[in-house]
Amino acid sequence: MGGTSTKLPKDLLSEYQELTFLTKQEILLAHKIFSELQDRENGPYSTRVSMEKILTLPELKSNPFQKRICHVFSTSDMKDGSLSFEDFLDLLSAFSDSATLEIKSHYAFRIFDFDDDGTLDARDLEKLVNSLTGETDDTRLTAEEMRQLISNILEESDIDKDGTVNLSEFQHVISRSPDFVSSFKIVL
């Protein structure tokens, strides 16, 4: 609604360029796409785009972690997963090419932490594996396999043996995989 195609002011653009890992072209493209999403919003004009509209983006449409991504990057008080433009930039910055391993692993941890309690416990891991393997019956793991998998994961990654994987332990596991940085990418 309300054909607002505001241009991004130059000093704001340069500030975004400095504070995120995105290049100028990427920020302008993000602004364009975000404005289009805003225009398609039903209801009064607001600076936030609802989660349903964000999830229509082709990069996020089929991603099993789409809702978690929106919740993690959303700064809305109503916790409804709606994103402002700066939240959207945060999302793209964390998933960009030049983001550091620290940033990516931090946000990956928060995305995988389904109950938002700061650690990955057995329930989080179960939900994570189910998201990875898909929702159809023939690709799910059996309960037995799930238990074995979770216990193995905890045994490998839980260094201080408290039954959960906290951020440092997660980052320790991630640092062993050189592929993580290249697979944790979304480019518009």
Binding site: S62, F65, D97, D115, E145
Partner: protein, 760 residues
């Protein structure tokens, strides 16, 4: 906030049961449940004493709500802690200016800046810490640190505004907006002055070639297949660089200053474009055309009249510079990828790694996402079944069978390689340009026989080797990939060595015979040119026949409409082979990189079209980074290093032909360079130091020996340091284990105390 969420999650009966069974699977003979009904301290300690060393995981469900409240506010589980540790890791503590104005009033008004904090005092102290650390940094550093922190953009902007205003000396108050605005406008003015080359130069990505196409490919097929296309693009960059250097400094001056026409007229030949004969023989394409010395007859009308342009010297320097820059770029890339693919000590099973890192976020098409999920499921099931069933011990009979199978396959491969070497040896044409007995067309075809055979062999035989290796059952797919790569390399290396032997024989043979009017350098250049072109033709026909037509058959015949699988390793090795040809040939044919550029463009678009139409996303997970590191190393070590050795040997030891080319009156090409540097001091007094440096540093074996010795000593010292660090890591691991034990103990105590107080 977090604690309330935990309390909402009711612990159901069956979840308890699940967790107990989980323990039972892990340690069937040990005490399963950590019984906390005993509030008695001695009982607890006794129980703990009976527990085995690495005790059970703690069950959250059995903690009381007050314990869980304590647990949830543990620092290691709060996001704020993680952000501040990230900050301390990314900055070193520089000079610390005391922050005197921060007050609780700030906290009250700006509480939304730092999320998730309930305690205002904690907030203030952490604010102070953050601002202190940021103040001591320069503007660029501050921005870099802020960028790497995991805060939202709005928070980062506010922090930066505070730091900037604080640095500008203004108190943080109402005119904060004004001072920031003035500061920002000043900064933007400076930026305009500097012409836009501000701090992010190192991270600024230029508009990359084929960016949209590659994104489409990765959306459908994932990172593994993308790595092939990225490799292709990188080779294109190397070739463009080589072409620019040789083109600007060698070819252009030669074109603008053509030599006086030679005695013999340009012969016509059939298929001249494919054989490189005829018109191309005496063109800038090949070595023989380049001028012998500084050419005096320069036309006055042309603006660029390089009268004093020394073509032979330019020849050595451009080729040398091109190879040197390529070498530096390759080594740089290897060192970068080496750091990334380095693995730490613990490599038991990798389930956690698979679960956390295997999802490829770039894949966005629904079908590909489903396929990816299916693949991950299959891989997880395979890994679990591998873990659960024990590895079967091989008895003598099966070991013997396994060994004999391997021996058989290897001997077949070696026989094939030997057959190819013989074929190359006997098919090598004896070129006699003078004889006109044979029809020109037949001569052209005769010349093309060898490249045809070589290209067919290099395309088809690796496929045959792959089929053989499927018969052998390897333990892991990675071993299979490495073995097939090794066989492929062996094949190509052997063929190349036969070719080099033939060339050297031809060169030395020419010395013995009377000097015919033939340029061996041009002949070698023409052979390499033919090889490159034939490789392109065979690759194109392979794509059309084996991928389009065969893929069409497979799709229509098989019931499940299966598509082909992309063999990344084989295709990348093809690229490496063709690039090796170019590097071998650049000395004799300076425009060969241009041919390679055209070839790579063509291959890219053909492969991309074929990929989209005929191939399915890969079933097995391709460890892209490790494989990329391997391929970059292969590109450097046998491929580039071999070419470099060949070029250096030719320039140093082999006598150039005496009647054509820029070095016709010298014993070796490098002699010209040496003479020039030695003479530079005499002719041009300001360059005496250069000539001195050459004589005493580069040409001096003693100096080189001491340099090498120094490097070896440094490497040895680093190795010792690494050993020491490994020891430290193992000690730290033990320390972490101990801390974990303490943590469990303390949590149990907290629970005990809470229960005791609840009972009272």
């Amino acid at each position: 906030m977090a604690a309330s969420q935990i309390m909402e999650m009711t612990s159901s009966e069956d979840e308890d049961q699940d967790l107990i069974e989980l323990e039972a699977i892990r340690r069937p003979y040990r005490a399963v449940k950590f019984d906390l009904t005993h509030a008695n301290q001695e009982d607890l300690e006794a129980q703990r004493y009976h527990e085995p060393k690495h005790t059970n995981a703690l069950y959250r469900n059995s903690w009381s709500s007050s314990t869980q409240r304590v647990l949830s506010s543990m620092p290691s589980r709060s996001i704020r802690f993680n952000q501040s540790t990230a900050l301390s890791r990314s900055t070193k503590m520089r000079r610390r200016r005391p922050l005197s104005i921060v007050s609780t009033a700030h906290c009250a008004t700006d509480q939304d800046v730092f999320r998730g904090q309930e305690d205002c005092d904690d907030d203030v102290t952490q604010n102070e810490d953050l601002l202190n650390k940021l103040q001591g940094l320069s503007a660029g550093e501050c921005v870099r640190v802020l960028r790497e922190m995991s805060l939202t953009v709005s928070e980062k902007r506010q922090i930066r505004a505070w730091v900037v205003c604080w640095d500008a000396g203004q108190p943080l108050s109402a005119n904060r907006a004004l001072c920031c605005h003035q500061f920002k406008s000043f900064i933007s003015f400076l930026k305009v002055l500097c012409g836009g080359c501000y701090s992010r130069v190192s991270q600024q990505k230029s508009i990359k070639l084929w960016q949209g196409v590659l994104k489409n490919i990765s959306a459908h097929f994932g990172t593994g297949i993308l790595s092939y296309f990225i490799f292709l693009r990188r080779l294109l960059h190397y070739n463009i660089l080589l072409f620019l250097i040789t083109g600007l400094f060698l070819v252009l001056p030669q074109i603008s200053n053509p030599p006086s026409s030679k005695n013999k007229p340009a012969a016509t030949a059939d298929l001249w474009m494919f054989t490189g004969m005829g018109i191309l023989t005496d063109s800038v394409m090949f070595y023989g055309h380049y001028a012998n010395s500084t050419n005096g007859n320069c036309k006055a009308e042309m603006k660029l009249c390089p009268e004093n342009y020394n073509i032979p010297l330019a020849y050595i320097f451009t080729i040398g510079a091109g190879m040197f820059i390529t070498c530096v770029m390759l080594v740089y890339r290897i060192s970068k990828s080496f750091g990334r693919s380095f693995r730490t000590f613990k490599t038991t099973s990798n389930l956690a790694l698979k679960v956390f890192c295997s999802w490829d976020f770039k894949v966005s098409k629904k079908r590909s996402v489903k396929l990816q999920s299916g693949n991950i499921c299959i891989q997880l099931k395979e890994m679990l079944s591998e873990l659960s069933c024990k590895k079967q011990k091989r008895n003598l009979y099966s070991t013997f069978g396994w060994l004999s199978l391997h021996f058989l396959v290897w001997s077949i491969c070696l026989l094939c390689i030997a057959a190819c070497m013989l074929a190359v040896y006997y098919l090598h044409p004896y070129i006699d340009q003078g004889s006109s007995k044979v029809n020109s067309f037949q001569k052209a075809v005769g010349l093309l026989k060898l490249p045809l055979v070589m290209s067919c062999v290099s395309h088809l035989l690796p496929g045959f080797f792959d089929m053989l290796s499927r018969v052998e059952h390897y333990d892991s797919p990675r071993t299979q990939v490495y073995v097939s790569i090794a066989r492929n390399l062996l094949l190509k290396g052997c063929i190349f060595s036969v070719l080099c032997y033939q060339w050297l024989k031809k060169i030395s043979g020419r010395k013995n015979e009377q000097n015919k009017q033939q340029c061996w350098e041009t002949l070698v250049g023409q052979e390499l040119y033919r090889l490159v072109l034939m490789d392109l033709l065979i690759a194109m026909s392979y794509i059309i026949l084996a991928e389009f037509l065969w893929g069409l058959c497979i799709r229509n015949i098989t019931l499940r409409k299966r598509k082909l699988e992309f063999d990344i390793a084989r295709d990348v090795l093809e690229l490496i082979y063709s690039q090796t040809l170019v590097w071998f040939g650049v000395l004799f044919s300076p425009l060969l990189p241009a041919v390679q550029i055209g070839k790579l463009f063509l291959l890219f678009y053909l492969k991309k079209t074929s990929l989209m139409m005929n191939f399915q996303p890969p079933r097995k997970h391709w460890k892209a980074t490790q494989m990329n590191a391997l391929f970059t190393k292969l590109l450097f070590f046998p491929s580039f290093a071999g070419a470099l050795a060949f070029v250096i040997y030719t320039m140093w030891r082999v006598r150039p032909s005496s009647d054509c080319g820029p070095f016709s009156n010298l014993r070796s090409m490098l002699l010209l360079g040496k003479r020039w540097i030695r003479g530079l001091g005499r002719s041009n007094p300001s360059f005496v130091w250069l000539s001195w440096a050459y004589n005493n540093l580069v040409d001096n074996p003693l100096f080189l020996f001491t340099l090498v010795g120094l490097f070896l000593a440094i490497i040895y010292i680093h190795m010792q340091v690494l050993d020491g660090q490994k020891m430290i890591i193992s000690r730290l691991q033990k320390q972490i284990d101990n801390e974990g034990e303490d943590k469990k103990f303390l949590i149990a105590k907290v629970q005990a105390l809470n229960e005791a107080s609840a009972q009272q």
